[in-house]
């Protein structure tokens, strides 16, 4: 018991030590990278409005602080950040924290839902394929997994829209909720779930394939291990053997990959959020890049990096639970 607490403590301590330098590093790196991007928010806003004058653009730059030297801008940003102030979005004229807070729940919901879908179906498919290795359920699922693996998620998403929204009319094609009606209780959950299903599938499809193949390989490897024979010799029920002994050991490579994939999921969210009109952080980040709204972009990057660091710490903890032999170093 003590060991578990020690390990948890070590992981949390290590994360806490890493998080600050990582995030400051990301901020400084991104800040300078963004300086290389041609054009600024004044160019974009003036272009959108179509009839700006030199005076309006100068006034806009002065209002945002773009007329200051680059290093002054960085120091101002970091000073504000130290006071937990992410600044104001130049485009929306609103605090960055407010804009992100509006989008964060949507992104987390979509990510968690996609991740759960990827894990549940990936592991399930992998397990079935391993149990029926070489027989027709295995072959059939292998084809499906190959399709998921080789087709871009947004295409699967679009085809799902054509089938389920346009042709069958079962699921909504766009948005995150039915707009303009007031729902509560189960109706509310059912409504949200309906909108969540297709984007989650589009985001999860690739990862379902990856996890299915990983699980299948790991399960097949575990099946030949001595402890499996021992468990069978003890007279354990085959289901118990598969769940307690085989699956638990086969999950280690899957969970490792999940940790790595979280960053990808955040990146892939941009495409899926665009196709499905989902109000998440991915689109916010994309719009911030296109609009040269750098305060907003830095805020999103900061939060995303924090999210990845925290979930990786959670994965480390999960590993320790799955296989106590894995120590936190």
């Amino acid at each position: 018991m003590m060991g578990v607490l020690d390990r948890t403590g070590t992981i949390l301590r290590r994360t806490a030590i890493q998080v600050l330098p990582t995030m400051v590093g990301i901020i400084i790196l991104c800040f300078f990278l963004l300086q290389l991007v041609p054009g600024d928010v004044a160019d974009v806003l003036a272009g959108e409005s179509g009839s700006a004058t030199a005076e309006t653009m100068a006034a806009l730059r002065a209002r945002i602080g773009l007329d200051q030297p680059v290093l002054t801008q960085l120091v101002t940003y970091l000073t504000n950040l130290a006071q937990l102030d992410l600044g104001r979005s130049a485009r929306f004229n609103l605090p960055v924290t407010q804009l992100i807070a509006e989008r964060l729940p949507g992104t987390l919901l979509l990510m968690l839902s996609a991740l759960s879908m990827a894990l549940v179906f990936g592991v399930l498919f992998g397990w079935i394929m391993a149990v029926f290795a070489g027989r027709w359920p295995d072959r059939l699922l292998q084809v499906l997994v190959l399709v998921f693996y080789s087709t871009p998620g947004f295409w699967i998403g679009l085809m799902a829209i054509v089938l389920f929204s346009v042709k069958l009319g079962w699921l909504p094609s766009n948005g995150s909720m039915t707009v303009g009606v007031t729902l509560s209780g189960w109706d509310l959950i059912a409504d949200r779930a309906k909108y969540l299903l297709l984007p989650s599938l589009a985001m999860a499809s690739f990862f379902i394939a990856v996890y299915a193949r990983l699980t299948r390989a790991a399960m097949l490897e575990v099946q030949g291990q001595d402890f499996m024979r021992t468990a069978a010799a003890k007279g354990l029920h085959p289901a118990v053997i598969q769940f307690r002994h085989a699956l638990r050991n086969a999950l280690i490579p899957v969970t490792t990959m999940v940790g790595l994939h979280l960053g990808n999921l955040l990146g892939g969210a941009v495409v899926v959020e665009t196709v499905y009109g989902w109000p998440g952080m991915g689109r916010l980040a994309l719009e911030a890049v296109l609009g040269r709204d750098f305060n907003l972009l830095l805020g999103v990057l900061l939060l995303s990096s924090l999210l990845v660091i925290v979930t990786n710490a959670a994965i480390d903890l999960l590993h320790g639970w799955l296989d106590p032999r894995i120590e936190a170093h």
Binding site: P38, L45, G50, R91, G106, S173, N174, V179, P279, R283
Partner: protein
């Protein structure tokens, strides 16, 4: 009222005359169901504006007029009608405008609407609106002798001013909310209070806006709709799906991929409407950087104009949804548009001869000249137009390299760094050539660093004189003659080769009606819009 000012080609106007019937009460409405009270209409736009009132920026044109009204509205023939102004009068010298305001109009927060609100709004527009600064540059004084009279005094006549009072162009906002605040950060931009047919209810950024019926609207029994939902759908394929599945009732400016248009025509539940675009008239063109020594030579520009086949471009790149147009003034602006064709018809042999004579013989790999074309990334078809130009010019020995970046980079390269040889753009004429066309050809509007100024660096003293003349000429006949001469010159000197004008479609569900009855169409107030039973 007739639709005589529309271009003669009117393909695809299937039963879309609901608008006409609603404004004119014409008997042509036999197939159009009468307005009906109630229901929700869901409309969509590709991108979300940063604020909801187009007071200090004009990128919220799409939604502003639903809540915030103007003094006037314009019908599909650009004839002005009273909105917040009950009646108006312009003095013969064009220097005094008297507006009598509607009485008993209330802001959505219950306060009375008065002439003070108009004066305050005009002051903010003149100070901070990117276009208002020039539209109202000659506005010297605003008088409010009583709560329902506004008098505008101008220093110089502004012949197009009477067309500038549409809701989204010159929005009238509540003085009591803006008093003593910074209009750029004022809360009214995010939760607008207006006098319009709809009250703002909620804005979920990245998703939608909900407007609800203003029960105390001055123009009873309008609005007909109980609720208006605005959705933002950034993906073109997703917009097609939303229209087809009926989740969205309407999208404007041909909201789908152009190669999807013909397929959607057969979908059955959708109608293609071409009205409601009279207030914004775009012209697509290929633009030269005249600071480039090659394009400074007229014969080289002429050769390129001869090499571009406008009808083919309109047919292929634009799937027949554009019509060729050689003039920088769009045909919708009927009183000014010059119908004469380009002096440079499609003629490859002539183009080759011009280049030979200009001293550009075919060299290695049969190439005469290498150039770089910058594609404006905001419109998909512009990229394809650039690809077409590359192919067309390769036939006359000009090798074009097409460069694409995002909009910020594009604006910087073309307008600040001037790092381009050719570019292609789609520019709005807006409601008058002085507002939308002058900026592109007036030498005094060559302002490096300002997007959509005079990008070509065209400079011709006669054109400057004509443009400055039309900006103050109140006699319509003289003004028309000046614009005619202006068009003749720029069509001959071609600082840019005009390609065509869009025939935009508002694609809407068969049951969603009454939305395209004004010149600003989908950007209008939607007070006449209804869901048929």
């Amino acid at each position: 009222m007739t639709a005589a000012h529309l271009p003669t080609t009117r393909r695809g106007l299937i039963g879309g005359f609901a608008g006409l019937a609603a404004t004119s009460g014409a008997a042509s409405a036999q197939s159009v169901p009468p307005p009906r009270r109630g229901g929700t209409m869901t409309i969509m736009f590709p991108s979300e504006p940063p604020v909801l009132v187009s007071l200090v920026s004009s990128n919220s044109l799409t939604v502003s007029a639903k809540v915030t009204e103007g003094l006037l509205w314009y019908d599909n023939d650009m004839v002005a009608h009273p909105q917040l102004a009950r009646e108006w009068e312009v003095s013969p010298d064009g220097l005094t405008y008297v507006f009598k305001l509607r009485e008993g109009v209330k802001w959505h927060d219950g306060r009375d609407f008065t002439s003070e609100d108009v004066a305050a709004s005009l002051a903010i527009l003149k100070q901070s609106h990117p276009r208002g600064r020039s539209t109202f540059a000659h506005l010297t004084r605003v008088e409010t002798p009583d709560p329902h009279t506004v008098i505008l005094k101008l220093g110089t006549p502004v012949p197009y001013l009477i067309r500038a009072f549409a809701a989204a162009e010159t929005p009238i906002v509540p003085k009591h909310i803006y008093d003593g605040t910074d209009p750029f950060t004022n809360r009214n931009g995010y939760a607008p209070v207006g006098t319009g047919p709809f009250r703002f209810k909620e804005w979920v950024r990245g998703s939608h806006i909900i407007y609800e019926r203003n029960p105390e609207y001055w123009d009873q029994p309008r609005p007909y709709l109980d609720q208006l939902v605005v959705k933002f759908i950034p993906d073109a394929a997703a917009r097609s799906a939303a229209l087809e599945s009926g989740e969205v009732d309407l999208g404007y400016r041909t909201p789908v991929a152009l190669n999807d248009v013909e397929r959607l025509r057969t979908a059955g539940n959708l109608v293609f409407e071409t009205k409601g675009y009279e207030y914004s008239n775009n012209v697509v063109s290929v633009n030269f950087n005249l600071d480039n020594p090659h394009f400074a030579k007229l014969p080289v520009r002429q050769a390129i104009a001869h090499a571009l086949n406008m009808p083919v471009i309109c047919r292929t790149i634009y799937y027949n949804t554009y019509t060729p147009c050689a003039s920088p003034i769009a045909p919708f602006l009927t009183e000014y548009h010059d119908l004469s064709p380009s002096p440079y018809a499609f003629d490859i042999a002539r183009a080759e001869r011009l280049l030979d004579e200009a001293g550009y013989p075919r060299g290695a790999n049969r190439i005469r000249l290498r150039t770089m074309m910058e594609a404006n990334p905001t419109v998909d078809e512009i990229r394809r137009l650039c690809d077409f130009t590359r192919a067309a010019l390769s036939r006359i020995g000009i090798a074009v390299e097409v460069r694409t970046a995002d909009f910020g980079s594009y604006a910087k390269r073309v307008y600040t760094d001037r790092d381009f040889d050719l570019t292609a753009s789609t520019m709005s004429n807006l409601f008058d050539p002085t507002v939308g066309v002058q900026r592109l050809y007036w030498s005094k509007n060559y302002i490096p660093g300002v997007p959509f100024s005079n990008a070509t660096h065209y400079s011709n003293p006669r054109v400057d004189a004509l443009l400055e003349g039309t900006a103050v000429e109140v006699d319509p006949v003289k003004r028309k003659a000046m614009f005619k001469e202006f068009q003749e010159i720029v069509m001959r000197e071609i600082p840019d080769v005009n390609i065509g004008v869009p025939r935009w479609y508002t694609i809407h569900n068969r049951r969603a009606l009454g939305h395209s009855v004004t010149a600003d169409g989908i950007e209008g107030s939607f007070s006449h819009a209804y869901i048929a039973g």
